[in-house]
Amino acid sequence: MDFADNLLTGLAVAFQPHNLLFCFIGVLIGTLIGVLPGLGPVGAMSILLPVTFGISPVTAIIMLSGIYYGAQYGGSTTSILVGIPGEAASVVTMLDGHQMALKGRAGPALGISAFGSFIAGTLGIIGLMLLAPPLAAIALRFGPPEYFALMIMGLIILTYLAQKSMVKSLMMAGVGILVGMVGLDTMTGMPRFTFDIPDLIDGIGIAPLAMGLFGVSEILLNVEQTIKQSVVVKQVKNLLPSKQDWKDSAMPIARGSVTGFCLGILPGGGAVLASFISYGVEKRLSKHPETFGHGAIAGVAGPESANNAAAQAAFIPLLTLGIPANAVMGILLGALLIHGITPGPMMIENNPQLFWGTVTSMYVGNIMLLVLNLPLIGLWVRLLKVQYAVLFPLILFIALIGAYVINGSEMDLYLMLFFGVLGYLMRKFEYEPAPLILAFVLTNILEDSLRQSLIISGGSMSIFVTRPIAASFLFISLVLLITAVMPSIRKKRSALAATAAENA
C-alpha cells in the first residue's frame, strides 16, 4: 500500500461519525484536564479506560490520544494565566508566558501558544506519517551512554536559562539533582532519603514540586505586596498576536517543532527536555536575549511548539515498536492489549486501519483543539481582570485540590506547601526556581544512564566517547559550555586590558 492509499484509509476511518465524536470528547476532556493544574492526562486516561472496553480499538485509541495531546494545549493556559505549571512540560512556557500575561499580553501569549501548538502538532503528525519506521530505528540506537550525553547537554542548556547570577542558577541545578535523589534507587531497588515515609518511595512528584515552587510561592509573594494594584493585570491590549508577534515567533515555532519531534521519539526523553532546549536555543539565537524571562514571545512560541511536537512524536515508539515512551503511552499499550492488538514491530502491518486512522484523527483533533481554544482566550483574559483578592484564594484552592487528586495523597499537599514556602524564600534571596525544576526532571535518567553505562562498560568512561551518538552530544555540550562562558571571559580580559592601559 502506498502513501496515498494509506492516507485515504486513514481519512475514511477518522471521519466516521463515532470516531469524530470520541475524538471530540477526548480533546475536550484533555483540555479540561490540562487546564486543571496537577491532575494530568495519565489520571484522566486511566479513569476513562474502562469506558473504552465496549468500543472498537480504533475509537478507543482515538479518544485516549485526544486526551493526551489535548492536555498539552490546556496546560499552557494555566501556566500563562496564573503562573502555575500543572506539569513539567508547562514550566518553561510559564517563564515568559506568565510575564506576558502580567504585562497585559495574555491574549497574544495564549494565541501564539495555541497556534504554535497547532502548527507543531500538525508538523509532528506529518513526521509521524512519513518518518515513523526509520526514526524508530534511530531511537533504538539510544542506549544508556547516549541518554547520559543527552542529559549532560540538557544541563548545559540550563545555564542559558540563567537570568541573574550564573553561579546561583548552577547551584539551583545542583539542588534540583539532590531533590531528585529522593525515592527508590532504580539500580539497587532501595529507597533513598525517604525517611521511612511510604509516600516518598516513588520520589517527589513533579506536579507538587512545580506547583509549589512557582504557584504557591508567587501567591505568597503577591500577598505581602502593599499595593494591591501591582498584581492586577494592566489594560489588556489585544486578544490575538500582532504581526510583529508572528514575525518573532515564526522561526521559534519551526525550530521548536523540529526539536520537540526529535526528542519526543526517545523513550523517556520527551516533552520537558524539548521545551527547555527550545527555550535555551531561542534565547541564544535571539537578538534581544535580555527580554527572555520578562515576556519574550519567542520564549513561549518555541517551547510550546516543542512540547506539542514531542507529544505527537511519543506515539512513534509505541505504534512502530510496541514500546511506551512514557506513562501515557503505557496506558495506551494496555488499551491495545485489551482490545486484542499486539503492539510491536508488526503492528502497523497487521492493523493498518488502526495506525492510519489514529494518525489522521490527530489532524482532526488538532483542528478541534484550535477551534476550541481560540474563542476561550477572550474568556480567560476576562478572568484575569477579576480582583486579585478574589482570584488568588480560588487559584490556591484549585491548586490544592489538583495536587491532591493526582495520587489521593496528603503528602503531595505537604510537599506543595513546603516547596511553596521554599520557593518564596528562594525568590526573596534571588535564587531562581526554574533551573531547580529542570535539573530535577533530568536527574533520574541522568543517574540511571550513567550507572547503567558504567556497568555495561565495566567501569570504563571510554564508552561515552567511542559510541558516535553519545560522543556527538558530549561534543556539542562542550561547545555550548565554552560559548556560554566565553563572553564573560572576554569581558574580563578587555576589562583587564583597559585597566592595564590606564595604569601604563
Binding site: M45, G143, L184, I201, P267, I323, G458
Partner: protein, 324 residues
C-alpha cells in the same frame, strides 16, 4: 411489682437475644455497602485491568458496587501498607503481588509484614524467562550457555533489582556456573527497549516480552518459574529440562484483605471471585496478556508463604546481602 420485674426480664432477655443475633445478622447481611478494591499498580497495567474484570464480575454476584481505586507505587508496597491499616471488615480489599509481601519486607523497612494480611485467592502468576534478540547467534539454551562460559560478564537488563524475574536469571546462572552483569532498568518496557537496541546481551523477561517473542523480535531460550513446558510454545525448555533445580517461587497476583477477616466473609469473597475467574471471559482476558489461569485458594497460597520467605532469605544471604 410483678409487671415491673416482668418488663425488666423481657428487657434483659430482649437485649441478650439481640446481642446474639446482631453479629450473626450482620455477617449474614455482608455485604451491605459498597466495597473498595484497591489495585497496587498503575491504571492500565496488567494487574489493574484484570482486577477491574474481577470487580465487575463480583459486583453482580455480591450485589453491591465494587469501586476500583489505583494506589500504585513502590512496587506495590504503598498499597500493601495502606491495606494493613484498614479494618478487617470485608469492605477494603487489595489486588497485589505475592512478591511485594514475601520478598520486599526482607530488604527494606515497610509499613507491613506478611502477617498483616489474609489472602483470599490467587488467579495467575508472572512467568519469567531468558530472552535474547531473534537475530542473535544462540538458537538454543545450550548454545547460549556455551558462549556464556567462554565470555563471562554478559550483560542483561531486567525490570528491576531483586524482582522475581531477575532472581530467576541469577538462579539459572548459579545452576550453570555463569557470571552475568546485571543492568537494572525502570521496568519491563525499558528492558525490552534496551534489548531491541542491542545495548545489552539478553534480558530477564518479565511477561511483557511474550508478545515480542510471538512477533519474532525476540527469542526465549528457557522459561523459569514453571515445571512444565507451555503447550503453546513447546520448543522452549523449562529449568527441569536443562537440569536445573526449579527457580524461585514466582510472583503471583492475589486478592487480599487485612488479617483478622472473619471466616464467613472470607469464604463468601473467595467464592465470588473464583466464580468470576472461572468464567471463559476472564480466562480470555488473561490470555490476552499471555498469562495462564492459575487459580489457587487463599489458604493454600498463604500456607506457602513461610517456605517462600525462607527460600528468599537463603537466596539473599547467599548473595551476600544484608537482610532486615
Amino acid at each position: 411489682m410483678k409487671i415491673k420485674s416482668a418488663l425488666r426480664a423481657t428487657g434483659v432477655a430482649g437485649a441478650v437475644l439481640t446481642s446474639l443475633i446482631l453479629p450473626a445478622a450482620a455477617q449474614a447481611q455482608y455485604p451491605d455497602k459498597p466495597i473498595t478494591l484497591y489495585v497496587a499498580f498503575a491504571a492500565g497495567a496488567t494487574t489493574d485491568v484484570t482486577a477491574r474484570a474481577l470487580a465487575q464480575g463480583a459486583e453482580k454476584i455480591l450485589g453491591v458496587p465494587i469501586t476500583v481505586e489505583n494506589k500504585g507505587g513502590g512496587g506495590a508496597t504503598v498499597a500493601n501498607g495502606l491495606l494493613a491499616s484498614k479494618k478487617p471488615d470485608g469492605y477494603s480489599l487489595l489486588v497485589t503481588s505475592t512478591g511485594s509481601i514475601t520478598v520486599r519486607p526482607l530488604l527494606m523497612k515497610l509499613a507491613y509484614t506478611p502477617k498483616d494480611f489474609r489472602v483470599l485467592m490467587q488467579y495467575t502468576f508472572y512467568i519469567g524467562g531468558l530472552v535474547v534478540p531473534a537475530d542473535s547467534p544462540w538458537k538454543t539454551v545450550d548454545d547460549f550457555v556455551a558462549h556464556a562460559k567462554k565470555n563471562p560478564g554478559m550483560t542483561y537488563a531486567s525490570s528491576g533489582p531483586n524482582t522475581q524475574q531477575q532472581i530467576g536469571v541469577e538462579s539459572f546462572a548459579r545452576c550453570k556456573g555463569l557470571t552475568f552483569k546485571h543492568v537494572p532498568t525502570k521496568g519491563g518496557s525499558a528492558a525490552n527497549t534496551a534489548l531491541m537496541g542491542k545495548h545489552v546481551d539478553f534480558i530477564a523477561g518479565s511477561g511483557s516480552h511474550i508478545p515480542l517473542v510471538q512477533q519474532g523480535t525476540f527469542r526465549e531460550l528457557v522459561t523459569f518459574h514453571v515445571d512444565a513446558r507451555d503447550p503453546k510454545r513447546p520448543d522452549i525448555p523449562v529449568m527441569k529440562d536443562i537440569g536445573c533445580p526449579p527457580t524461585n517461587p514466582p510472583n503471583g497476583m492475589i486478592v487480599i484483605a487485612p488479617a483478622g477477616l472473619p471466616d464467613p466473609i472470607a469464604a463468601k469473597l473467595t467464592a465470588a471471585f473464583k466464580q468470576v475467574s472461572d468464567t471463559p471471559e476472564f480466562k480470555k482476558l488473561l490470555d490476552k496478556y499471555n498469562l495462564d489461569y492459575a487459580y489457587e485458594d487463599g489458604k493454600s497460597v498463604q500456607d506457602k508463604f513461610p517456605a517462600e520467605i525462607e527460600w528468599y532469605k537463603k537466596y539473599f544471604t547467599d548473595a551476600g546481602m544484608t537482610l532486615r
